[in-house]
C-alpha cells in the first residue's frame, strides 16, 4: 500500500487506487516535483505595468520556500489559519503554497465581499493571519478587527496607499519573502528546516477551507484534505487529457472552489502554467493575449459574450452583418455535428471551411478562444441556443456538475457526447445515486472532510451510509447522463397540487437576453407570479433602436414598451410550459419588472450571482403581496447599499401585469 492509500483508508471512505504521482500527497510536494521535472517551464504569469512577467517552476519553488520561511518567522505554524483576500495574483497563489508548506491552512475569501462578510469568515475560521491584495482589503479587515481577537498579523501585495498605516502588524509580502531569502542564505539550518516542514505534510493535511457562497444562511467552511484533493484532480486531468502545455487564465474568484481546482490544483498536478490578468477589467483583453487552451466560465459569461457580439454586429456595415448572419446560420446547421465527429456532406464541409476563414476563426480570436481544447461551463443551466452557438463555432464547450463538498467534479461530459440539458457521465471513482425523493447523493475521491467547526451541519449533510447529500434534484436520462432540474427543497407545489420547479421556469425566462434575472413565486400559492430584472446592455440597446430615452436603470425598467417586450417573452415561456403536461399548471399569471438590479451587496444574490430567495421574499414582501392581491400598481421603498458601503433608498411605483395563459394539448382536444 502506498502512503497515500494507507492514510486515506484510515480516513474512511473510498479506497484510492495507485496514482502516477509517486508520494506527492500535498501541493508543496507537487511543486517540488514540478520544479525537478520541468524546472524551466513557466508556472505562473502575471501582467504588470503592461508587461507579462513569468516565473518558472524552479523559481516558484525557490520563492515559495523563502516565503514559507518568512511566514514561519512571522509566527505561522502547522494548523494555523491564514485568510487570503484578493484578486488572482501569483503572490496570493504562492501564499497558498507557502502556508501549505508549513502545514498551515489557507482560507480564501471573496475579494468583493463587504467588510461584514469578510469579518464573518475570519472570525469563524479564527484566522491568525491574513494575506491580502491591497489597501481596499486591508481597510475591510481593519474595519472589523474588533471582532477578530485571533488575528495576529496581516501581509499585503500592493503597497499603494498603505504607507501611513501601522507597520508593526502590517508587512509587505515581498518583505516576508526577502526575510526568508536572507535566512536561507545566512542560516544553513533554515534550508533543512523548510524541507523538513514540506516533507512533514501528508495526505490527511487540510489543504484549504472553502466557504460556500451561502445560498442558504451563513456560509459554511468546507474542509478539503490534500491527498483526496490531489486524487480527485488527477482523475479529472486524465479525463480531459490535460498536459503541462495547457494555458489557463485565472480570473475566477479566488475563494470559489472552481478557481482553486481548475487554476491552482490542476496546474500543480498537470504542471501547466497559470496566467493572472492585469486587472478584473482587462480579463477579456488578457484572454486574447494568452489564448488559453483550457477555459471555464459560468453560463452568464457566455451569455454576456453572445450579447456583446450580437449588439456589436448590429452596428456593423451591411455586408459584414450579412456575412455574419449567413455563416452563423451555416454553423448552426453543421458546426456541432462536425465538432462531434458525425457525418456531414462535403458541400456543407466546404461552406463551413469558408465560414471558419471569414467569421468563426476571427470571432474566436477576438473572444480569446482560438486555442481552446477544453472549455467548461457549470453552476447554472445554460440555454440550448447559447450552448450550441459556441459549440457551432468549433469551441469544445462542455458541462460538468459538481459542488464544493465534492471538491468540484462529480460528472462531466466526455468529448463528442454533449447536450445542453444534461451535465455528463459520472466520473471514475465517483459513486453517485438518486435518492427516493429525487435528490442526488454521492461519494467521491475529493469528498470534503466536514465543515469547519460545524459537526451538526456535517452530520446533516451525510446520509447514514456515508453519502453526501447535494440538495439538488435530478435524474439520469436515456443516454446515461445526469440531468439536474432544481434544488431539491425548492421543488414545491401549487395549492392545487401541481408541480412547481421555480429554477426551471426562471432559467427558461433567463434564456431571453433581455431578462437578466427572474424570481418566480408559486409554492403554496394559487398561481405562479414573477419578478423580472431587465438586462441593461441588451434592453438599453433595444431602447436606443426604438427611440426610447431613459435617464437611468429605474426609468428604463419602468418603461411601458419595455414591459410589453418582456410580456412577449413571458408568454412564450408560458406556451412552452403548456406543452409539457406536468408543468402546464405552473404558467406565469402575473409579473412585474423590478426597479433595481438584484445585487449581491444588498444580499439579494450570492457572491456567485445566484438568487437568494429568502432575503428577496423578505425585502420585497409588499411587492409579492401585490402580485397576489389583484392590485395593478404598487409603491415601494427599497434600501440599497452603495459601493462604498453607505445606505440609500430608492422609491418606485411599479405596475403589475396580467398574462395570457395557454391551454395544454389535452385541454384543447376537450
Amino acid at each position: 500500500m502506498t502512503p497515500i492509500r494507507r492514510k486515506l483508508s484510515a480516513l474512511g471512505g473510498v479506497v484510492l487506487p495507485n496514482t502516477v504521482l509517486g508520494d506527492a500527497d500535498t501541493f508543496p510536494k507537487l511543486l517540488a516535483r514540478n520544479a525537478a521535472l520541468r524546472g524551466t517551464r513557466p508556472a505562473f504569469r502575471h501582467k504588470d505595468l503592461g508587461i507579462w512577467h513569468s516565473w518558472s517552476w524552479a523559481e516558484t519553488y525557490d520563492i515559495v520556500r523563502a516565503y514559507a520561511l518568512g511566514l514561519s518567522q512571522l509566527g505561522l505554524k502547522r494548523g494555523d489559519i491564514i485568510a487570503v483576500i484578493g484578486a488572482n495574483r501569483p503572490k496570493l497563489y504562492w501564499t497558498f503554497l507557502a502556508a501549505q508548506a508549513l502545514g498551515a491552512v489557507p482560507v480564501p475569501v471573496y475579494a468583493d465581499a463587504v467588510a461584514e462578510e469578510v469579518g464573518f469568515v475570519l472570525a469563524h475560521a479564527a484566522a491568525g493571519f491574513a494575506a491580502v491584495q491591497d489597501q481596499e482589503q486591508v481597510d475591510k479587515v481593519l474595519a472589523v478587527q474588533d471582532r477578530l481577537p485571533a488575528l495576529r498579523a496581516m501581509i499585503y501585495d500592493e503597497p499603494r496607499g498603505l504607507r501611513a498605516y501601522d507597520g508593526a502588524r502590517l508587512r509587505q509580502i515581498d518583505a516576508i519573502i526577502d526575510l526568508g531569502r536572507r535566512a536561507l542564505r545566512e542560516d544553513p539550518a533554515a534550508r533543512a528546516r523548510i524541507d523538513a516542514e514540506i516533507a512533514a505534510g501528508d495526505a490527511a493535511d487540510i489543504c484549504v477551507v472553502l466557504y460556500t457562497s451561502g445560498t442558504t444562511g451563513q456560509p459554511k467552511g468546507v474542509r478539503i484534505c490534500s491527498g483526496r484533493a490531489i486524487h480527485a484532480v488527477t482523475d479529472s486531468v486524465a479525463f480531459d487529457r490535460l498536459t503541462d502545455t495547457e494555458e489557463v487564465l485565472a480570473y475566477l474568484p479566488l475563494a470559489w472552489v472552481g478557481d482553486y481546482y481548475l487554476c491552482f490544483a490542476q496546474a500543480l498536478v498537470a504542471g501547466f502554467c497559470v496566467s493572472c490578468p492585469e486587472s478584473a477589467e482587462t480579463v477579456q483583453e488578457n484572454l486574447r493575449e494568452i489564448g488559453p487552451s483550457f477555459y471555464f466560465a459560468p453560463p452568464r459569461v457566455f451569455e454576456g459574450l453572445l450579447t456583446t457580439t450580437t449588439v456589436r454586429m448590429q452596428d456593423c456595415g451591411a455586408v459584414k452583418r450579412w456575412l455574419f448572419h449567413y455563416f452563423i446560420a451555416v454553423a448552426r446547421r453543421h458546426g456541432e455535428r462536425l465538432l462531434n465527429g458525425q457525418p456531414v456532406p462535403l458541400p456543407a464541409r466546404l461552406l463551413y471551411a469558408i465560414g471558419r476563414l471569414l467569421i468563426y476563426a476571427p470571432l474566436s480570436n477576438t473572444l480569446g478562444f482560438s486555442r481552446i481544447r477544453v472549455a467548461y461551463t457549470a453552476g447554472e443551466a445554460i440555454g440550448p441556443d447559447l450552448f450550441s452557438f459556441f459549440r457551432s463555432l468549433g469551441i469544445n464547450l462542455k458541462q460538468f456538475y459538481g459542488q464544493t463538498e465534492a471538491f468540484l467534479y462529480l460528472t462531466a461530459q466526455p468529448d463528442g457526447k454533449i447536450s445542453a440539458e444534461s451535465v455528463g457521465i459520472v466520473l471514475p471513482h465517483v459513486e453517485l445515486r438518486i435518492a427516493a425523493d429525487g435528490e442526488v447523493q454521492f461519494k467521491s475521491p475529493g469528498q470534503f472532510a466536514g465543515y469547519l467547526k460545524d459537526e451538526s451541519k456535517t452530520a446533516a449533510t451525510l446520509t447514514a451510509d456515508g453519502y453526501v447529500k447535494t440538495g439538488d434534484a435530478g435524474f439520469f436520462d436515456h443516454s446515461g447522463q445526469l440531468r439536474i432540474i432544481d434544488r431539491a427543497r425548492d421543488v414545491g407545489r401549487l395549492n392545487n397540487g401541481a408541480l412547481f420547479a421555480p429554477k426551471f421556469i426562471e432559467n427558461k425566462l433567463k434564456f431571453y437576453p433581455h431578462i437578466r434575472e427572474a424570481v418566480v413565486f408559486g409554492n403554496a400559492r394559487d398561481f405562479v407570479a414573477c419578478f423580472l430584472n431587465i438586462d441593461l446592455t441588451s434592453v438599453g440597446d433595444w431602447a436606443e433602436r426604438n427611440g426610447i430615452t431613459y435617464p437611468s436603470y429605474q426609468e428604463l425598467a419602468g418603461n411601458e414598451r419595455i414591459a410589453e417586450l418582456l410580456r412577449g417573452h413571458v408568454e412564450e415561456v408560458n406556451r412552452a410550459l403548456a406543452s409539457e403536461p406536468a408543468l402546464a399548471a405552473a404558467q406565469i399569471r402575473r409579473f412585474l419588472v423590478l426597479h433595481k438590479q438584484l445585487d449581491a451587496d444588498d444580499g439579494e444574490l450570492t457572491r456567485t450571482q445566484k438568487v437568494r430567495r429568502g432575503p428577496i421574499a423578505e425585502r420585497y414582501a409588499k411587492l409579492i403581496d401585490a402580485l397576489y392581491d389583484g392590485s395593478t400598481e404598487t409603491e415601494t421603498v427599497t434600501e440599497v447599499t452603495l459601493e462604498d458601503g453607505r445606505k440609500g433608498t430608492i422609491c418606485a411605483r411599479l405596475k403589475i401585469r396580467d398574462l395570457q395563459l395557454f391551454a395544454t394539448a389535452t385541454e384543447r382536444a376537450a
Binding site: G50, R160, G161, R163, S279
Partner: protein
C-alpha cells in the same frame, strides 16, 4: 480629509495680479500663495476669474500688472512652455486630449518634454531612442497603474466616456511628474461615484508623490473634503483666503454664492 497643516514655504505665489481683456476686468490685484505639498482650492461663482487665474499661472495669459514667484524666483511673465519645463502641469475644464490617439499615446505625449533623443534616432526607433522610449513607457505605465486605466490603454481617447477622459487628462498631467498640478474643475460633469474616485486619486497624488495641487472646483463638499486652504474669487477680486471651515462661514462668500438682497 488631509487636514494636516502645511507650514512649508510657498512653492508659488502670485502678487498683485491684474488682468483685463479690453474693458473687461478679469482679475484685480489678486495675491495669494500655494505652499509646498498642500491642496489649494480656488472657488468662486461663474465668471469670477478662476480659470483666468490658472491661465495666468501657467502662462496662457499675460497679466497687465503683478508678478509670479515660483520657487522664490520672480517672473513678470510665465510662458506655457516655461511653466511645463519648471514642473507645472495642468488639466482643462473642457477636456483637451488628442482624440484620435490612444490613451497610451496621450500619456506618452505628457512625457514629450523629458525626451531628449534627436529626430534621427527617434525615426530609427533604435539604440538610445529605444532605451529612452522604454524608460518613458515604464513611467507612463506607473501612471496607468496608479489611475487604474489598464483596460483602456489602447482605446482612442475620443471614444471614452467623459469621466474617463477626465481621468486620462489627469494621467497626462501626472506623466510629466509635475511639482505643481493645476486642475481646472476635475469633477465637472461626473456622477457621484466618478467624483469619489477622482477625489481618491487627487488625495493619493498628493500623499504619495507629494505633488502640490491647485484646483478649481464648484462642488463645495469636494472642496471641503480635499483642500487645506481655499481662495475665494468674485468679480476678479479676492474676497476670502483661509481654511475651508472658515471660508464656509464667511458672510462675503455666502453672499457671493447666494446673492445679496437689495
Amino acid at each position: 480629509m488631509s487636514g494636516s497643516d502645511h507650514p512649508g514655504e510657498a512653492l508659488l505665489a502670485v502678487e498683485g495680479i491684474s488682468l483685463n481683456f479690453g474693458g473687461v476686468q478679469a482679475l484685480t490685484d489678486v495675491s495669494f500663495d500655494i505652499k509646498r505639498g498642500e491642496i489649494r482650492a480656488i472657488i468662486g461663482p461663474n465668471g469670477a476669474g478662476k480659470t483666468s487665474m490658472l491661465n495666468v499661472i501657467n502662462g496662457f495669459y499675460r497679466p497687465q500688472a503683478g508678478h509670479i514667484l515660483f520657487r522664490g524666483e520672480r517672473l513678470t511673465r510665465m510662458r506655457p512652455g516655461l511653466a511645463a519645463r519648471r514642473g507645472i502641469a495642468r488639466t482643462f475644464q473642457n477636456v483637451a486630449l488628442f482624440h484620435g490617439m490612444t490613451v497610451l499615446d496621450n500619456l506618452m505625449a505628457g512625457r514629450a518634454l523629458k525626451m531628449h533623443c534627436g529626430f534621427f534616432w527617434q525615426m530609427l526607433r533604435h539604440g538610445p531612442a529605444l532605451t529612452e522610449e522604454i524608460k518613458h513607457r515604464h513611467a507612463v505605465e506607473l501612471v496607468i497603474d496608479f489611475l487604474e486605466i489598464e483596460a483602456i490603454r489602447k482605446v482612442p481617447a475620443g471614444r471614452l466616456p467623459y469621466g474617463l477622459q477626465k481621468r486620462v487628462e489627469l494621467g497626462r498631467a501626472l506623466a510629466m511628474e509635475p511639482e505643481l498640478l493645476l486642475l481646472d474643475e476635475p469633477m465637472s460633469g461626473m456622477n457621484l461615484e466618478e467624483k469619489e474616485d477622482m477625489c481618491r486619486f487627487i488625495l493619493d497624488v498628493n500623499s504619495q508623490f507629494g505633488t502640490t495641487i491647485a484646483l478649481i472646483e464648484h462642488d463645495m463638499g469636494v472642496v471641503m473634503d480635499l483642500s487645506n486652504r481655499v481662495v475665494v474669487l468674485n468679480y476678479g477680486q479676492k474676497i476670502g483666503d483661509d481654511t475651508p471651515e472658515v471660508v464656509k462661514q464667511s458672510q462675503d462668500v455666502i453672499d457671493a454664492y447666494l446673492g445679496v438682497g437689495h
